[in-house]
């Protein structure tokens, strides 16, 4: 009984691993799904060269002038036809030659149409002989770290950490309770804290595999930047996973059936999927609900992960989100130890 492998904590933890790796579906959701999601989003939101804007003009002279700008593609058409093309969205702007000069017909609430208006007017004025008052030149920049994929990878990482923590704990604890295995365990001399600790330990080991697989893929395929310290990023992942595991434990602490715990898990995770800024910034939500949004553990986690990866912030600059995560670690854990149903 002296060796490590005979200790109950080791046995409990390795049991968790065995059960996890013998469940192919769980492996898919935790390891494969986030990578598939990143690939899909990477393709959908890849950066394309600036679009050429379609416009129309009522005279050949105007059409030629408009085509002089690389950003515009112009076609000649009558006013009636042009109005129809505008209405169906095939062109963004119609330039109409009249006695005074030129009139532009466009929708000023559409940003692309406003851009077309600026480009068209510049092209026509230039063709009419206008000179630039000030000489200007362009330096073009395509920087990594400002792309959508760079923004969404820390979001997906946070979402994945939440899913594996809450699903991982919720389902297996409630299944053990439903099958009276928990009751059998408490009828044995098993230390109860070791049972809960075995979940945390196995989670931390799986976390390493999960995070390295996902971030490694994002780095290799999309060249996502890591501007902060990698150790600190690792620490943030651990803190995130522990906080959400603590929430998972609370969710699983009373439920007697898988159906009941599934409902509770969705209830806990759905607001975070929507509000926590996985796919777009959480600050876009109205001011009124910001206190709620900012108090969610996933919001804090994603904010900290983005701060580290995209802005290269150090832990000392991420005090606020880390404090939120720490609170979510301690409070649900204490409550669940108190209310946990062992049978």
């Amino acid at each position: 009984m002296s060796s490590l492998t005979d200790s109950s904590l080791y046995q409990l933890t390795s049991t968790r691993f065995r059960l996890f790796f013998r469940e192919p579906e769980a492996m898919f959701w935790i390891f494969v799904f986030p990578i598939l999601l990143a690939v899909g989003l990477g393709i959908a939101f890849r950066n394309r060269p600036a679009d050429v804007l379609q416009v129309g003009a009522t005279s050949t002279q105007l059409t030629q002038a408009l085509n002089g700008d690389k950003g515009l593609a112009a076609a000649a058409m009558g006013e009636g036809e042009g109005a129809h093309e505008l209405a169906t969205g095939r062109i963004l702007l119609l330039a109409i030659r009249n006695d005074e000069g030129v009139a532009y017909k466009y929708d000023d609430t559409n940003p692309d149409a406003r851009l077309a208006r600026l480009l068209a007017d510049r092209a026509i004025q230039k063709a009419a002989g206008q000179k630039e008052a000030l000489q200007s030149s362009n330096n073009l920049v395509h920087e990594t770290g400002a792309r959508y994929i760079d923004f969404v990878v820390p979001g997906l990482l946070g979402m994945n950490l939440m899913g594996s923590a809450i699903w991982g704990l919720g389902f297996s604890i409630v299944e053990a309770r439903q099958k009276k295995l928990l009751k059998r365990f408490v009828a044995s001399p098993m230390p109860r804290w070791e049972y809960l600790a075995s979940y945390i330990l196995s989670r931390l080991v799986l976390l390493v595999i999960e995070v390295i697989a996902f971030l490694g893929f994002s780095k290799l395929v999309f060249g996502v930047p890591f501007r902060g310290s990698l150790w600190e990023l690792g620490l943030l992942c651990v803190l995130t996973s522990l906080s959400l595991s603590s929430l998972g434990l609370l969710i699983a602490s009373r439920a007697k059936t898988i159906e009941a715990v599934s409902g509770l898990m969705n209830l806990a995770m759905l607001p975070m999927w929507i509000l926590s800024g996985i796919f777009f910034s959480a600050t876009r939500f109205p001011k009124l609900i910001q206190p709620i949004v900012q108090a969610l553990p996933l919001t804090a986690a994603i904010e900290a992960l983005r701060g580290n990866m995209l802005q290269g912030m150090s832990l000392s600059q991420l005090g606020a989100p880390m404090a939120v995560l720490a609170a979510w670690l301690v409070v649900p854990f204490v409550i669940s130890l108190w209310i946990f149903r062992w049978r």
């Binding site: 005979d6 200790s7 409990l12 059960l19 099958k179």
Partner: protein
Amino acid sequence: MSSHIQVLSGTPPKSAPSDSALSLSGVRKAFADVVAVDGIDLEVERGECFGLLGPNGAGKTTTIEICEGLTTPDAGGVKLLGLSWQTSAAELRQRIGVQLQETQFPEKLTVEEILRLFRSFFRRGTAAEETIGMAQLEEKRRARIGTLSGGQKQRLAMACALVGDPDLLFLDEPTTGLDPQARRHLWDLVDQLRSAGRTIILTTHYMDEAERLCDRVAIMDHGRIIALGTPQQLIASVGGDHVVEFAVGTDARKEAVDARLLTAIPGVRAHRVDAGLHQLSVVELHTTVPRIFSTLAEMGLKPSEFRTHSATLEDVFVGLTGRNLRDE
């Protein structure tokens, strides 16, 4: 209907209560407004195989779970191996082995893995391999639990209870739901444990199981112990070693049966009617049966059915409650 007779308690405890394996005094437990256990006193000796027998809902599982420290009684005292749950829970957990009624072990673990896991909880005990041998699961050592038959799962549950080399073993309905062959297999296992001198407390609603396995039996009904003793003593308390059953056909004839004349026959100890079937407790078949025939003939009756069997615990239960064990 139910006559709460305290049949003489088998071998009365010779030693002081603190030396017994299990001692219950005045134990009560109610769930909401249902009284599950209604004042139970019990002493179990070390080395004894003790059975709690009764129909479903009699309070057997609640009683055994109170003993196992899984349920706290509303009133009364519980001592195991001279220790109580309030003061020595950790020590007791190390020294008892428990098999619960409805445990489902994780299907994707193997027999060996679950036994190693349970072994790791105990300070001392039997090696997982040895326990596998004891439960005759050698061939299934590396098999996943999901592939085991009902009987094998039950033997595995027993192996998990034995892996800590317990001083006191609790088995809650160990053979419920098993086919006859698997039951006999499990009985052999319990026999081996008995002869190895282990103290075993088991619950069952099979009277043949209690009769076959137990040194002493407590018959429970409605949360009380209504009879306590060795199976032989309990059966003797019915008033005879044998039971004679007969029927006399149509309703008109049934009324012609005079119970007083039947009980007056020498050797007949008791008479009762169950669903048209007359049952007589009889001491000596060879002298009494001819007398029963002649008495029936005097009443002008001819039995349409007639059979005899050795008295069983079932007859004891029917005699005490007027109901069959399986009625519930």
